[in-house]
């Protein structure tokens, strides 16, 4: 019947969708890792900050971001749905635990996936929610913007108790310095939420952006956070160790000739991802 045709989705099609959206995630993960490596450059965060600014302002990136979140969502929902359906296919289980030799990463895909979801929530809390203005973090603002914006003459500008804020009133140099905070030629950065609020009182219409470079430095100098992130990367690695090969199998791209190639690409990809992310985290921790 016609209506049945439309709603009936073959088991393989569902799996193809899980894989399709996972393949976006696999590509994303590589870019995410590569971008993070910029943090390790000895340039006081200039390259990474420029990259974050691009990612934060480019409209195409916004579209990609929506696609990425969609992929995560669909991958997780469909994979969980498949898992739930599959559990019903064996109403009476075995008494003896399976002793079939299979790859643990494959058997545990749902568990590593669910743990990943928990890690992702914390990861979001650490970084992304700052961008969404839900959580407080560190911020930065372009000096050029300060120079070009009108000073709000009515703003009552007072130094705080420690006398940290100093106003630069010389004409032509209409930006102020916040002592003891880092400055680059382009950005006034490492600002707290309070700093940005004060700034916004003085300068009209300035856009502050999250300062992920300094946030990473703030987080990754605490050993327990570093440890949690290393576990997170290990989980990503285990999930991907199954996922990469599984992807090719699902799309029917596996045959006897390709199998070893796919396997090794999977192993290499997994190690690049795990080592890449870990290097950045440990690099910041040890101040490399």
């Amino acid at each position: 019947m016609a209506h049945e045709r439309i709603v009936r989705i073959h088991s393989i099609s569902k799996k193809l969708l899980v894989g399709l959206f996972a393949s976006f995630l696999v590509v994303f993960l590589f870019f995410h890792m590569s971008a993070n490596l910029l943090i390790l450059l000895h340039d006081d965060g200039a390259a990474y900050t420029a990259f974050c600014h691009f990612m934060g302002t480019n409209p195409l990136v916004k579209v990609a971001e929506v696609a990425l979140f969609g992929s995560f969502f669909i991958h997780i929902v469909l994979a969980s749905y498949l898992w739930l359906c599959n559990r019903r296919k064996r109403p009476v289980g075995y008494h003896k635990r399976s002793r079939t030799r299979t790859a643990a990463a494959s058997k545990l895909a749902m568990i590593t996936g669910s743990l990943l979801l928990i890690c992702l929530v914390f990861h979001f809390y650490d970084f992304y929610l700052v961008k969404m203005n839900v959580v407080e973090g560190l911020y930065m603002v372009k000096l050029e913007e300060l120079n070009n914006s009108d000073i709000n003459e009515d703003a009552i500008w007072t130094a705080d108790e420690e006398g940290e804020y100093k106003e630069f009133t010389e004409t032509g140099l209409r930006w102020f310095e916040i002592t003891s905070k880092t400055n680059s030629d382009v950005w006034l950065n490492n600002l707290t939420k309070e700093d940005t609020e004060i700034l916004q009182q003085v300068y009209r219409n300035i856009n502050t952006e999250p300062d992920f470079y300094h946030m990473a430095h703030e987080k990754f100098t605490k050993w327990h956070i570093v440890l949690c992130y290393l576990l997170f990367f290990a989980l990503v690695g285990i999930h991907i160790r199954h996922g990469f090969e599984s992807l090719f199998q699902t799309f029917g791209l596996n045959n006897r000739r390709y199998a070893p190639v796919i396997k090794w690409c999977g192993i290499i990809y997994t190690w690049i991802i795990c080592l890449g992310f870990s290097t950045v985290t440990l690099g910041v921790f040890f101040g490399l």
Binding site: H10, K96, A103, S106, K107, A109, E245, N254, A259
Partner: protein, 254 residues
């Protein structure tokens, strides 16, 4: 050799089953697993202890696919590339406890004790696992050239005896290895190619309908297949399924 057997006993499909424990003594190490069960059954009948244990078997040489028991957590027991009838007691240690269970899957309901209804596999074959040919004069042996390599691969896939160990081993009770093997041996050969696209769709649809799970590439099936059917057959099934989605000629739609 002496063994303690924990065997799943269930009167019929509707009954609630449970494990019963029996002991067997003086079993030869050269005894096959099914022969050991025969000895147990003779003992049960002779001593009037219980009804003999029901289990499926036919050829007892690993080609019919009737025998299939879940032994100590592995389909066809603790040996690779053999069916239950080819499993020998020398693979166990003297005094071992052996847990014997039927295949567990929604699509394979238990009929009695260790016997399950595997007609779901027949239904999948009926849905598309055939070729339609005009029977008539026998064609010349070499009138359809088939490369040796292709014939070999088709033959490897055709080794599948439909025992159901793949389903029994799979966490998801998926029949993808079985369907993959059947689709492969037909579609690799020229006679099977005209119906390849419809076949794969019909068989997959039937497989879903009968209550088999969907594959998550754990590959327990490959590890337990007594005929060592390879995972590449599942990849081929996926490939042909994707191709069938883009097939303009949807004769199977009505």
């Amino acid at each position: 050799m002496n063994f303690t057997l924990h065997i799943w006993r269930q009167k019929n499909a509707a009954a609630k089953g449970k494990f019963e424990t029996y002991k067997v003594h003086d079993i030869s190490p050269d005894c096959s697993f099914l022969e050991m069960l025969d000895i147990l059954n003779e003992q049960l009948i002779h001593d009037k202890i219980a009804h003999p244990v029901c289990f499926d078997n036919d050829c007892r040489e690993g080609i019919c696919g009737m025998c299939g028991l879940y032994i100590n957590g592995r389909p066809h027991g603790n040996d690779d590339g053999v069916t239950t009838c080819q499993l020998h007691m020398r693979k166990f240690r003297d005094g071992d406890e052996i847990w014997i269970e039927p295949w567990r899957a929604k699509a394979f309901p238990v009929i009695c004790d260790l016997v399950v209804d595997r007609s779901a596999f027949d239904k999948i074959i009926q849905a598309g696992g055939y070729i339609s040919v005009t029977t008539g004069g026998v064609p010349d042996a070499n009138c359809i050239p088939i490369p040796k390599d292709v014939a070999d691969r088709a033959m490897d896939a055709a080794e599948c005896i439909g025992c159901g160990a793949c389903v029994a081993a799979c966490k998801n009770a998926s029949a993808m290895l079985f369907v993959g093997a059947k689709v492969a041996h037909l579609s690799l050969l020229p006679q099977g190619q005209p119906e390849a696209r419809q076949r794969v769709k019909k068989m997959v649809m039937k497989m879903d309908e009968l209550g088999f799970g969907s594959c998550t590439n754990i590959l327990a099936c490959e590890a337990e297949c007594p005929k060592q059917i390879k995972r590449q057959n599942i990849a081929r099934l996926n490939r042909q399924f994707i191709a069938s989605l883009f097939d303009g000629n949807r004769r199977d739609d009505d």
